[in-house]
C-alpha cells in the first residue's frame, strides 16, 4: 500500500493527467466552478438541444414565444384593466401588463423546465457522469431565447405608445439576472425534490399560479401596504417585476426596499438550492 502511494506520487510529477478521486462524498456546498467550466461545452449543447427541440414539429414555431405573452396581455388588459380598473401607474394597460409578463413568463417557463429536467434526462443521468448542476442551468439559460423574442415585441409596443425609456433602463440587465437566478434557485430545489418525490410535478402548476398572484403581475405593488412591502419583497419576483416596469418606462418608484429584500431572498434561495442539490446529486442516478 505504501509502495503504491509512492509510485503514484511519482506519476503525478511526471505525467500531466487529471486525477479523479472517487469516494462517498461529504460536505455541504461544493459548487466546483473549475469543473463546471470544464463542462461548458456540454452546457452549451444542452441549451442548444433544448432550443432546437422546443418548436420542432410545431406549425408556427417560435411565434409561440410571442403569442403567449401577447394573448395574456390582451386578456389582462381587458379584464383587470378595462373592467376591474386596477391602477396602472399611469401607463397604458398593454404596456403595464406586458412589462410584467415578460419577466414573469420567462420565470414560469424556466422554473418549470428546470424542475422537470432531472426527471426528463434520467436516461442520461444514469449512464454518463457530468456535474448534474449543468442541467438546471441549461434549462434556465435556454429560456432566454424566448425572452429575447418577446422582448422585441415590447420594443414595438413602446414605439407605438411613444414611451421613451429613462436612464433607469441601464438596470434592466440586473433585473434580468435576478429573474434568471430566481428561476435557477427554485429550479435547483424543485428538480432535486422531483428526483426523489414525483409529487412535485403535481404541485408545480398550482405553485406557478399561486406565485403569479403573489407577484405584481396583474396589479402594481403599490397596492400592498407600505409596512408590509419588505415582506412582499421576499418574493424575488416582486422585485424583478417592479424593477422591469420601472427600468423600462420610468413610471413608478425605483423599487428600493423591495429590491433589497428580493436580492437577499435570491441569494439565499440560490445558495440553499445549491446545498440541497449537491446533497441529492451524489445518488441522483440511483433514485431518479
Amino acid at each position: 500500500m505504501a509502495a503504491t502511494q509512492i509510485q503514484m506520487a511519482t506519476v503525478a510529477q511526471t505525467r500531466e493527467f487529471p486525477v479523479v478521486h472517487i469516494a462517498a462524498r461529504r460536505g455541504w456546498l461544493a459548487l466546483d466552478l473549475a469543473e463546471l467550466w470544464a463542462y461548458r461545452e456540454l452546457l452549451y449543447f444542452f441549451v442548444w438541444r433544448d432550443i432546437k427541440v422546443r418548436y420542432k414539429q410545431t406549425v408556427i414555431g417560435a411565434a409561440w414565444a410571442v403569442l403567449q405573452p401577447v394573448m395574456t396581455m390582451l386578456v389582462f388588459s381587458l379584464f383587470f384593466g378595462k373592467l376591474a380598473k386596477i391602477p396602472s401607474q399611469g401607463l397604458p394597460y398593454p404596456i403595464f401588463y406586458y412589462c410584467a409578463l415578460l419577466p414573469w413568463m420567462y420565470f414560469a417557463t424556466a422554473m418549470q423546465g428546470a424542475t422537470n429536467i432531472v426527471v426528463d434526462q434520467q436516461r442520461v443521468i444514469t449512464k454518463i457522469y457530468f456535474p448534474r448542476v449543468v442541467l438546471p442551468i441549461a434549462s434556465v439559460l435556454s429560456g432566454l431565447l424566448d425572452f429575447a423574442i418577446s422582448f422585441a415585441v415590447l420594443l414595438g409596443m413602446m414605439v407605438y405608445y411613444r414611451i421613451v425609456p429613462t436612464s433607469a433602463v441601464i438596470w434592466l440587465p440586473v433585473f434580468t439576472l435576478l429573474a434568471v437566478l430566481t428561476a435557477l434557485g427554485v429550479g435547483l430545489w424543485l428538480s432535486a425534490l422531483n428526483a426523489l418525490y414525483r409529487d412535485v410535478r403535481y404541485v408545480l402548476p398550482f405553485l406557478v399560479q399561486f406565485w403569479m398572484f403573489a407577484s405584481p403581475v396583474a396589479y402594481p405593488s403599490s397596492l400592498v401596504p407600505e409596512k408590509w412591502r419588505w415582506l412582499y419583497g421576499l418574493n424575488p419576483m416582486a422585485g424583478v417585476i417592479e424593477g422591469f416596469r420601472w427600468a423600462l418606462t420610468g413610471h413608478g418608484q425605483p423599487p428600493g426596499m423591495l429590491m433589497a429584500a428580493s436580492s437577499a431572498a435570491v441569494v439565499l434561495l440560490v445558495l440553499s438550492g445549491l446545498v440541497y442539490y449537491h446533497a441529492v446529486e451524489g445518488t441522483m442516478a440511483d433514485v431518479v
Binding site: 454518463i128 457522469y129 418525490y197 433514485v287
Partner: protein, 419 residues
C-alpha cells in the same frame, strides 16, 4: 513498468432492496420519519455494518489495481456487481464506502446513443451524443466525416432520427462511441447488440484502441469477446471478486463453473437427474458453443441420472436473446438408467441469424418436472449473413441460398453467392 491507471480500494455500494430504489412519495418519507426518527438522522453514512434487512450490498470489498494500457475484462452472472462497479468508476453513482483513484481522462460507454433525440437530425445527434460522451466540439468536427462513413448513414445525416430504422440508429450510436478516444475507457455490454458484421467492425475498432495502449475496462457476457480483447479478467460473484488473473485461466474457471453447476443459482437444480453440460460436436470450431458455418450440426447435452426414470418426457427448446422461442421439440417414453447419458441432436443446418441463443432442456416424469436447465454458456451463431440489405427486411431466419437467372434460350448467365 507502466503506471497505475486505476486504483480501487475496498469499494462498496449499498442499495435498498429491490435494486434501484424507486422514488418514494412524500408520504412514505414522512411515515418513515415518524416511525424511525433515529434512522432518519443517523445512518446514511458509510458505517455499513448496520445494513438492515431493507438494504443489499451490490458491491462489497472490491480492490484492485490496473496499469496504464491494460485491458481488463469483467465477467460474472447478472447481478454480480459488474455494472455497479463500472457505474462507480465512471462516477455515475457514488460508492457507499471505499474509494477509487483514476489517473487520466475517463470516458464511459454504459450505453450507446445516450441522449439521442428523435426530433433532431443525425448530424445534430452526433454532436449532442459526442458532447455527452465527453468529446469537445472541435474533436467531433474533426471526426465527423469518419463517424458518418463508419455508420454508413451519409445519405440520411440531415434526416430526423425518428425516420431512421433501428439498425441505422444503432449504427450511428456505435459510430460515435467508436470514435471516442479517452485515455481510460469503461465499456459495458454495449457490443451485444447490432448485426454481426457491424459488431465485428466495432470490435475491430475497439481492438485498435486496445492496441493503441489505452486502458480499458470491458464488461461482457460473451467469452469470445473477452478472450479476444482482454489480458486480465476479474470474475465477479455476489458483489465481490471471486477470482482475478490472466484471461485464459479465469474464463476457463468461469465457464467450467457455469456448466458444471457450481454457480450459486444452480443450487436448486434437479436431484434425480441433472444436466451437466452441452456442446456443439459438429462442426468443430475454436469454441464448443459457437457455430461459424452452415451444414450439418450435431449438438450434445450430457445428463447425469441418479435414480431410474421410467416414463420420462424430454423437452428441448431454443430461444433468442429476446426470449422468443425459435424452435422446440419433445420426446415421450424416455427410459433412463442411473449413470451419465448423452442426448444428441442432429440438424441438417441451423438457419439462424448471427447472435446469441439459449438452449433449454428439460426432463419430466409423470408431469413432475425433474430438471429444467437454461443451458450456459449461450450458443453463439457467427455464420455468414444472408439477408436483405435493408434492415426492415431482415428476417428471423438466415437461410443460405443460391440464386440464378436463366435465359430460356441460353445457358445460365449469372450465379450469385454460394456458401
Amino acid at each position: 513498468m507502466s503506471h497505475i491507471a486505476i486504483h480501487v480500494e475496498s469499494l462498496g455500494k449499498r442499495y435498498r432492496i429491490g435494486g434501484r430504489a424507486r422514488y418514494l412519495t412524500m408520504r412514505d418519507r414522512l411515515t418513515n420519519a415518524m416511525t424511525a426518527p433515529v434512522r432518519w438522522f443517523g445512518s446514511n453514512g458509510a458505517n455499513g455494518s448496520d445494513a438492515g434487512p431493507r438494504h443489499i450490498w451490490a458491491l462489497r470489498n472490491v480492490s484492485f489495481d490496473m496499469h496504464e494500457g491494460e485491458v481488463l475484462g469483467l465477467i460474472g452472472r447478472n447481478g454480480a456487481g459488474k455494472t455497479t462497479l463500472l457505474k462507480i468508476l465512471s462516477r455515475v453513482t457514488q460508492p457507499t464506502e471505499g474509494s477509487a483513484e483514476i489517473r487520466g481522462r475517463v470516458g464511459s460507454l454504459l450505453e450507446v446513443g445516450t441522449g439521442f433525440h428523435p426530433e433532431l437530425t443525425g448530424r445534430e445527434n452526433t454532436y449532442l451524443n459526442g458532447a455527452i460522451l465527453g468529446m469537445g466540439k472541435k474533436e467531433i468536427e474533426r471526426k465527423f466525416d469518419d463517424i458518418v462513413a463508419f455508420a454508413e448513414v451519409a445519405d440520411f445525416i440531415d434526416t430526423p432520427l425518428k425516420h431512421y430504422s433501428t439498425g441505422m440508429q444503432m449504427r450511428l450510436a456505435f459510430a460515435v462511441a467508436a470514435h471516442f478516444e479517452p485515455q481510460i475507457l469503461l465499456v459495458d455490454e454495449v457490443l451485444a447488440v447490432g448485426d454481426l458484421a457491424f459488431q465485428k467492425k466495432c470490435l475491430g475498432k475497439m481492438g485498435e484502441v486496445a492496441h493503441a495502449g489505452r486502458t480499458i475496462v470491458f464488461v461482457s457476457h460473451q467469452m469470445n469477446q473477452i478472450r479476444r480483447l482482454c489480458e486480465k479478467v476479474i470474475w465477479m460473484d455476489g458483489g465481490t471478486i471471486r477470482q482475478a488473473g490472466p484471461t485464459a485461466e479465469i474464463v476457463g474457471a468461469y465457464e467450467a463453473a457455469m456448466t458444471s453447476g457450481t454457480a450459486s443459482n444452480d443450487a436448486d437444480r434437479g436431484e434425480k437427474v441433472h444436466f451437466l453440460n452441452w456442446e456443439i460436436l459438429q462442426p468443430r470450431s475454436e469454441s464448443a458453443h459457437m457455430l461459424t458455418s452452415f451444414g450439418p450440426v450435431k449438438i450434445r447435452f450430457i445428463v447425469q441420472v441418479n435414480q431410474p426414470v421410467q416414463r420420462g418426457h424430454h423437452g428441448v427448446a431454443l430461444f433468442n436473446m429476446d426470449r422468443q422461442l425459435m424452435w422446440a421439440w419433445a420426446k415421450d417414453d424416455v427410459r433412463l438408467e442411473p449413470g451419465i447419458h448423452s442426448f444428441t441432436y442432429t440438424f441438417p443446418t441451423l438457419p439462424l441469424r448471427p447472435g446469441a441463443y439459449a438452449w433449454q432442456v428439460s426432463l419430466w416424469e409423470d408431469k413432475e418436472l425433474l430438471e429444467l436447465w437454461d443451458c450456459l454458456p449461450e450458443m453463439n451463431i457467427a455464420t455468414k449473413v444472408f439477408q436483405h440489405p435493408r434492415d426492415e427486411w431482415n428476417g428471423v431466419l438466415n437461410v443460405p441460398c443460391d440464386f440464378t437467372i436463366r435465359n430460356a434460350e441460353e445457358a445460365p448467365i449469372a450465379a450469385k453467392s454460394s456458401f
